[in-house]
């Protein structure tokens, strides 16, 4: 037998050449190992852009973001941050999650002025598409479809595009110049804007039927703008009235905010009660504080733990004096003789079962009614879609939202829908994600087949790119404006953004979960030098691995005895990409690759 080996230096790692893979084990690895990206409705490649920031390539970081979520500067401020909830750095024993959202914003803030955005344009297709509604979903779809070479016409009932972003979110959270800039970038590729043009049956409206005839496809992204009514009996057994219309001191939150953002004037009295538990409710409360209210209280039906708002948002509101009281549902209002609001009657709740998204059901407790005195009531308990403008018979689901199929199309050929208009109220990033998804499907329908597909790109990486010391950098707090500067006006932004040094520190905290550490079992000598230096229980003597239904890997089965040790393997689920093992391996049998999703054109 021949035992001689090729006579090049043995210890050199021969990294795998760059390659694309559809293997379920690779796809599964990326899905399981990059929690932030998996959690992002827009599928943002978080590790990639944070890595770019840590190397000072802010412009590139910005583009990586734009490629996924279109409006990085906006989302970097007001995103609900599902990624940070998922971040590996926040897992038990790992400390606090990376400030992904703040980093996203820093990329937008720190890219130099001359930054030119890049776009890979497709040849014109000559197809005409009308999009109804210029909110986050509509804008995202418009952007993608225009890039794909279609002629896009974007209809918006309001005077300016932006939808919720412009009319729902206060300026102290989202400065308008930022919004303008990114909307412009998204829509500048030959999207025809039709602002101030309503679709429907009203005077001056264009009818949907006509729109359908005039275009190859129509995408409904009208959002979810109608406030849910809260019928409350006035105390003393009066008739049930809709507070929004019946009393000057009672108003729905969203119209209240929209009016302000249209430039109309609004005022609040001394004690303001807000009912509702979403971003809108919090915004109302913080705006009220800025309008001079002395006492602002948010009344929620369950408890802080369960409301869908970031902890930072709640904390800042509290610092501004806003108080939150839980376990109460409004059941009536108290008017004084002059017909002005004197208080709100609540009933005590207990917590009931669970709703999806970790929310709870509240169950009123009979006979526990009580009155909270207040002078202004803002109701922000949610929105619903309005589809009375549909002059064509389209199937609705049981929530009276338009029903769409797997191809994104409604029951009417050529009529697509997406965003909150379909799902009911969600988040901005969700809407962006849905908008882009709709664009993909609509394009596939128009062109007869998907033009792009997602694959795993595996690129060899020469070194860990991280130092263990980075794992001990604390989460960098977002600098905020001092309290006394805030409450004067509605303009100045509360969060000031991370400057370059802070951004660099924070970016170093990212584990770069897209780095995939592998041991070449054929060259491993079982010496366990790697285990010796492992910072966690991340390198294991294994005898088996669970293979899941979709062909991806589940848990490792560890071996306790020497004669069961089939391999030494890195548990990428435990791995925090510190690189200690890579440095320690005496025979260089540990390799690193960057495994991440990329979109490629279909042949």
């Amino acid at each position: 037998m021949s035992v001689s080996m090729p006579s090049r230096r043995f210890d050199a790692v021969q990294p795998p050449a760059e390659m694309h893979s559809n293997d379920p084990r690779d796809v599964g690895w990326v899905n399981q190992n990059i929690p932030c990206q998996a959690a992002c409705p827009a599928g943002t490649n978080v590790p990639a852009y944070i890595r770019a920031i840590s190397e000072g390539r802010h412009g590139e970081a910005y583009e990586i973001n734009r490629a996924a979520n279109v409006l990085p500067g906006v989302l970097g401020r007001i995103c609900s941050r599902p990624c940070e909830t998922a971040c590996r750095h926040g897992w038990a024993g790992n400390g606090e999650s990376v400030a992904i959202c703040n980093l996203k914003r820093s990329a937008a803030d720190l890219k130099h002025d001359g930054h030119r955005i890049t776009e890979r344009l497709y040849a014109p297709t000559g197809k005409k598409i009308a999009i109804v509604g210029a909110g986050p979903a509509g804008v995202a779809a418009a952007h993608d479809l225009s890039v794909l070479g279609h002629d896009v016409y974007l209809y918006e009932r309001e005077r300016h595009v932006g939808g919720m972003l412009r009319y729902g979110i206060p300026e102290f959270r989202l400065p308008r110049d930022i919004l303008e800039f990114e909307l412009h970038n998204a829509l500048r590729l030959g999207v025809e804007l039709r602002p101030g043009q309503g679709i429907g049956n009203g005077p001056g409206d264009v009818r949907l039927g006509l729109l359908l005839k005039a275009h190859d496809a129509v995408l409904l992204a009208a959002g979810c703008m109608a406030p849910l009514p809260l019928p409350l009996p006035s105390r003393g057994g009066g008739a049930t009235i809709d507070p929004a219309t019946s009393c000057p001191d009672i108003e729905h939150g969203l119209p209240f905010l929209m009016a302000l953002h249209r430039g109309e004037s609004r005022s609040v009295r001394r004690r303001v009660a807000v009912v509702g538990a979403g971003f809108t409710a919090l915004d109302c409360a913080r705006v009220a504080a800025r309008l001079g209210a002395q006492e602002v209280t948010i009344h929620i039906r369950t408890a802080e733990e369960y409301i869908p708002v970031t902890k930072e948002e709640i904390f800042e509101a509290k610092r501004e004096g806003v108080r939150i009281k839980g376990l109460r549902t409004p059941v009536g209002i108290v008017l004084d003789d002059a017909g002005r609001l004197a208080g709100v009657e609540f009933v005590q709740n207990r917590l009931g079962g669970w709703r999806d998204g970790g929310r709870r059901i509240a169950i009123p407790i009979d006979g526990s009614e009580f009155v909270e005195p207040c002078d202004t009531l803002l109701v922000a308990i949610g929105q619903k879609t309005v589809n009375d403008f549909l002059d064509v018979a389209v199937d609705l689901d049981r929530w009276h939202n338009v029903r769409i199929g797997d191809d994104g199309m409604t029951s009417i050929r050529g009529l697509f829908a997406c965003g909150d208009f379909v799902t009911g109220p969600t988040t901005v990033v969700e809407a962006v994600g849905r908008g882009r998804e709709a664009a993909r499907r609509l394009d596939a329908w128009l062109m007869g087949a998907p033009r792009r597909q997602r694959v795993v790109q595996i690129v060899p990486v020469a070194s860990p790119q991280r130092e263990r010391a980075y794992d001990f950098i604390p989460r960098q707090a977002m600098p905020t404006a001092p309290l006394h500067d805030r409450l004067g006006s509605r303009q100045p932004e509360v969060e000031l953004g991370l400057d370059a040094p802070l951004a660099l520190q924070e970016s170093r905290r990212c584990y770069l979960c897209n780095l995939h550490y592998r041991i070449d079992v054929d060259r491993c000598i079982y010496c366990r030098a790697c285990i010796e230096v492992a910072p966690r229980n991340c390198i294991k003597l294994v005898q088996g691995v669970e293979v899941l239904a979709d062909g991806s890997y589940g848990g490792l089965r560890e071996a306790r005895e020497w004669n069961q040790v089939g391999a030494i393997w890195i548990d990428n689920n435990e791995c925090i990409r510190c690189g200690a093992c890579f440095r320690a391996c005496p025979v260089n049998c540990i390799s690193i690759t960057r495994d991440e999703f990329v979109e490629v054109d279909n042949p």
């Binding site: 038990a92 024993g93 369950t302 408890a303 802080e304 733990e305 904390f315 509290k318 610092r319 004096g321 839980g326 376990l327 005590q348 207990r350 917590l351 407790i365 006979g367 526990s368 009614e369 009580f370 309290l483």
Partner: protein, 346 residues
């Protein structure tokens, strides 16, 4: 089965210890484990002001001698932090990466001092008085006749305040809505009570009247260690600043465990949580009050001890409801001193 049961109690305050005592009495063979962040066996926190009367050996504060736990076969694990509860697998995860399984779990983590969010940025400059260590640390910082500024007040803070005044220190209470927490007092009565406090030798600054606290700063060399600046421009110097705004329950480790929480652990009057194997007792409990038609906390040593006792009984067969043990009215003695039932402890 009972003989083999493992009762795990998180927290070794009055409630946790009373529960352990009761459990042992009722189940001589059960395994009982007390978990606490404290480095010391159960001691009487209400007693801590005594450090200003020259008691500085922690052994003086112990309620039971260390041998008690050995004699009673009660496992006492100190300096361990519970980070998570898995109600389905009936295990608690400890911060040092150990997993402990239980048959029944009693949550008696009590409460910690509440710091209003607008003051949170000054945390590094503030002191605490909740543990023996903090009490000793404060005693070392306050010189003979030195000044202690108490923000808020509350009956725990005021109890310390009267001891400090007794022992020749200067006490400034920055009064606000929580000054007499947990007592709920009408505006009129509050004014009267504040005057009495002044008669007791406590200086009062009305936070609202002074436009709220603008900043708390470290004093310059050679001056008092802390300076409090008010909106009105008024300033107040002190050697230590002690925020004292009542308690918030310590429930973080229960987030995501599926147990119902609002501010505290929501429990029935039988102290049962929404998980059959988990009960709660003491300042951490938010209990439904039929009388007041609301969830509320029952503070005070008598209530807390009663809850510990009851929880232990309900863990071992009983099914009784909690009855408040504590008078909650704040009394004034001949206009010159106040007296709170929360100041009564064994």
């Amino acid at each position: 089965m009972n003989a083999a049961r493992h009762h795990v109690i998180v927290g070794t305050g009055v409630a946790g210890n009373q529960a352990a005592r009761t459990l042992r009495r009722r189940e001589p063979d059960a395994r009982i484990t007390l978990l606490t962040l404290s480095a010391l066996p159960f001691y009487n926190r209400y007693d801590l002001p005594r450090v200003f009367r020259g008691h500085d050996d922690w052994r003086d504060f112990l309620v039971d001698p260390p041998s008690y736990y050995d004699d009673q076969h009660i496992g006492l694990r100190r300096r361990v932090q519970v980070v998570n509860v898995d109600a389905r697998r009936k295990t608690v995860a400890l911060a040092h990466n150990e997993e402990l399984s239980y048959d029944t779990l009693l949550v008696a983590t009590g409460g910690r001092g509440y710091l209003p969010e607008e003051l949170s940025e000054f945390r590094p400059l503030l002191d605490g008085f909740a543990t023996y260590e903090q009490a000793m640390a404060m005693r070392r910082k306050v010189p003979e006749g030195g000044t202690v500024a108490i923000l808020g007040g509350d009956m725990i803070g005021l109890d310390l305040a009267r001891t400090l005044v007794d022992t020749g220190h200067r006490v400034v209470v920055v009064a606000g809505p929580l000054t007499f927490w947990p007592h709920v007092e009408s505006a009129a009565h509050r004014a009267e009570l504040l005057q009495v406090l002044q008669r007791m030798g406590i200086e009062i600054i009305d936070a609202v009247a002074e436009g709220g606290i603008d900043a708390i700063q470290a004093g310059a060399r050679g001056f008092a260690a802390r300076r409090i600046a008010f909106g009105s421009g008024r300033e107040c110097a002190a050697d230590v600043v002690l925020p004292s705004f009542g308690l918030v329950p310590s429930v973080e480790f229960l987030l995501g465990s599926g147990i119902d929480l609002e501010r505290g652990v929501l429990v029935s009057r039988k102290l049962r949580t929404t998980d059959a194997a988990i009960l709660a007792a003491g300042d951490v409990c938010q209990i439904w009050s039929e009388a007041e038609k609301r969830y509320r906390f029952y503070y005070g040593w008598k209530n807390v001890r009663a809850m510990g006792e009851l929880a232990a009984r309900n863990l071992t067969g009983d099914d009784d409801e909690f009855e408040p043990q504590q008078d909650e009215t704040l009394h004034i003695h001949d206009g010159s001193t106040i007296h709170s039932p929360f100041w009564e402890y064994a």
